[in-house]
């Protein structure tokens, strides 16, 4: 059974670029809510997550909300194992599918088929499994013979279809998403939503960061409200979202 446990996790970024002093001034004036500190070597550090504890089990569908710089993306990357915490411990059981960048590893000069294979390889899926699913993926893209041509020859919409189909073709156990998959084409949108929802439903645990309330209400059963790298609220969707809207003055939620 998939599970995620974070125990007292902290993530500190050391800012190396430019003069620390002036950078500090610049950052303190900005509206981000990360916490700036000096470490023992007098370097400026940003505490992106501080003393963060969280336990997720099978069936949890968590939406992340919070202002810019609250730590949503950092948290997702910690869950994906990209950032190993600077303090504390994380334990994740289950195959993690991070879906942060739809265009990851997209090679414009390779054919559509090759791109689907490459993407699967990045996520550690065996070649056989991909070939078995290839017809299904191909059918979903509706690209037909275009799949044999380099992606360079595709229109923007076609590229999006390909990326979307390839990304959602895996069986995710733990699914991590940053922002909802933006899909433009109207006709494709409905189809994409159905596929995306079945993709989400196949997963055991899902964590998604989104600013779109409609998406959060439809896909999630819990909301995690982050502020300054810590958990402000963690609970049922309606309770937390209502409070979040009241606090942020967002009384006309996007529908």
């Amino acid at each position: 059974m998939a599970s995620i446990h974070l125990n007292d996790v902290s993530v500190d970024f050391v800012l190396y670029q430019g003069s620390a002093r002036s950078l500090k001034k610049t950052l303190l004036r900005s509206s981000t809510s990360g916490v700036l500190k000096h470490d023992a070597h007098h370097r400026v550090t940003v505490k992106a997550l501080s003393n963060f504890s969280l336990g997720l089990e099978h069936g949890d569908r968590v939406g992340l909300v919070g202002g810019n710089g609250a730590g949503k993306t950092t948290l997702l990357r910690v869950l994906a194992g990209v950032y190993e915490p600077t303090a504390g411990r994380i334990r994740v059981e289950g195959r993690v599918t991070p879906l942060f960048d739809l265009g990851l590893g997209l090679d414009m000069d390779a054919s559509g088929y090759d791109n689907i294979r490459m993407r699967a390889a990045y996520f550690g899926i065996d070649a056989d499994e991909v070939e078995r699913k290839m017809d299904d993926i191909a059918a979903f893209t509706e690209l037909g013979d275009y799949l044999n041509l380099p992606v360079r020859t595709y229109s923007a919409g076609m590229t999006l279809r390909l990326a979307f189909a390839a990304a959602t073709s895996v069986d995710p156990e733990i699914l991590l998403m940053d922002e909802w998959l933006a899909v433009s084409d109207k006709k494709f949108l409905e189809k994409a939503q159905r596929r995306a929802e079945s993709f989400v439903n196949r997963s055991s645990i899902m964590v998604i960061a989104s600013h779109v309330e409609d998406v959060l209400r439809r896909l999630c059963n819990k909301i995690l409200w982050l502020e300054r790298g810590t958990v402000l609220r963690f609970g049922p969707v309606d309770d937390v979202l209502d409070e979040y809207n009241a606090r942020t003055g967002n009384d006309a939620p996007l529908r």
């Binding site: 059974m1 998939a2 125990n7 970024f13 050391v14 190396y16 099978h58 990357r77 994906a80 194992g81 990209v82 950032y83 190993e84 915490p85 504390g88 411990r89 994380i90 334990r91 994740v92 059981e93 289950g94 195959r95 993690v96 991070p98 942060f100 960048d101 990851l104 590893g105 090679d107 000069d109 390779a110 490459m118 390889a121 990045y122 996520f123 550690g124 069986d171 156990e173 196949r202 055991s204």
Partner: protein, 281 residues
């Protein structure tokens, strides 16, 4: 939906706190090696991508190497007053090997920086990125070796089976060294972004002080000057057996020592900073 639907592999458990940083660094190296299917595939993919729209593909390099060997061979052979049948095979294998060294040094520096999108999106062993870059340069090296083979046939140089086996062992030694050099340079260059240009100029300097175009004998009494250059030894363990000579024991000794010391240091640095690499990007 139950967990049984998914193939659970041992790699499906990720725990940042179950082992020491050294053990995790070691695991990273092992995992990287174990996933050879992925890095060899990605390495080939890089080559195909680079040469996709050219007719000759990577053989363009072979061609330019052929032109270089022919012209440098004529000019420097005349300058140094060497027979072509002696000098050309020496130059062909030396230049091909040097090109390999220079490219793995250069690309080792930028491997993490170039693969930033991948590193920031998926958890993949850091060593896998290094192996991918090393593999694609090895493929290019193989294309350049063709020139040596042609020159060797023309001038009747035949290293014999022992010679080829010795050269392969030498290549193994070079690769082991390449591994730590690339990993170390990759980490340093990711943290300090002004290092890659410095490395590029060091490589240029190395090219002139390493006997690639000139023969070590030309140094005469000052041959000891080369003892301190590990790249001379690493090239010699491949070049000498292919030219029908036996590499000196000191070539192997220095190469092995360089590998042992280099890996010991690099491993310590890797164990300490492995998890910071993603933060530096």
């Amino acid at each position: 939906m139950t967990g049984a639907l998914f193939h659970r592999r041992s790699g499906d458990i990720y725990d940042s706190g179950d082992r020491s940083q050294s053990e995790r660094a070691w695991d990273d190296l092992l995992d990287g090696g174990r996933r050879w299917r992925l890095w060899s595939k990605l390495g080939w993919h890089d080559i195909r991508k680079r040469y996709r729209r050219s007719v000759l593909g990577p053989f363009w390099l072979t061609l330019s190497m052929a032109v270089m060997v022919a012209s440098l061979g004529l000019i420097y052979g005349t300058l140094f007053r060497l027979d072509l049948e002696n000098y050309l095979p020496f130059l062909a294998i030396g230049l091909a090997t040097w090109n390999f060294v220079a490219s793995f040094l250069n690309e080792g520096c930028t491997s993490f920086i170039d693969l930033e999108p991948l590193i920031k999106n998926v958890r993949i062993p850091m060593s896998l990125h290094i192996l991918r870059v090393l593999w694609r340069n090895l493929i290019i090296y193989a294309h350049n070796i063709v020139i040596f083979a042609v020159v060797a046939v023309i001038f009747g140089v035949w290293p014999g089976v022992t010679g080829v086996l010795l050269a392969l062992a030498g290549l193994g030694l070079l690769l082991v060294n390449a591994g730590w050099i690339m990993l170390l340079c990759g980490m340093i260059c990711t943290r300090f972004r002004d290092v890659p240009p410095i490395v590029a100029s060091v490589i240029q300097l190395l090219f002139f002080v390493t006997p690639v175009m000139w023969k070590p004998e030309l140094l005469g009494d000052r041959r000891y000057l080369m003892v301190l250059n590990p790249f001379y030894h690493l090239i010699e363990v491949i070049r000498a057996p292919l030219l029908g000579q036996t590499p000196g024991w000191e070539n192997w000794a220095v190469g092995l020592l360089f590998a042992a010391a280099g890996w010991a240091f690099t491993f310590a640095v890797f164990a300490r900073f492995r998890k910071r690499i993603a933060y530096w990007l």
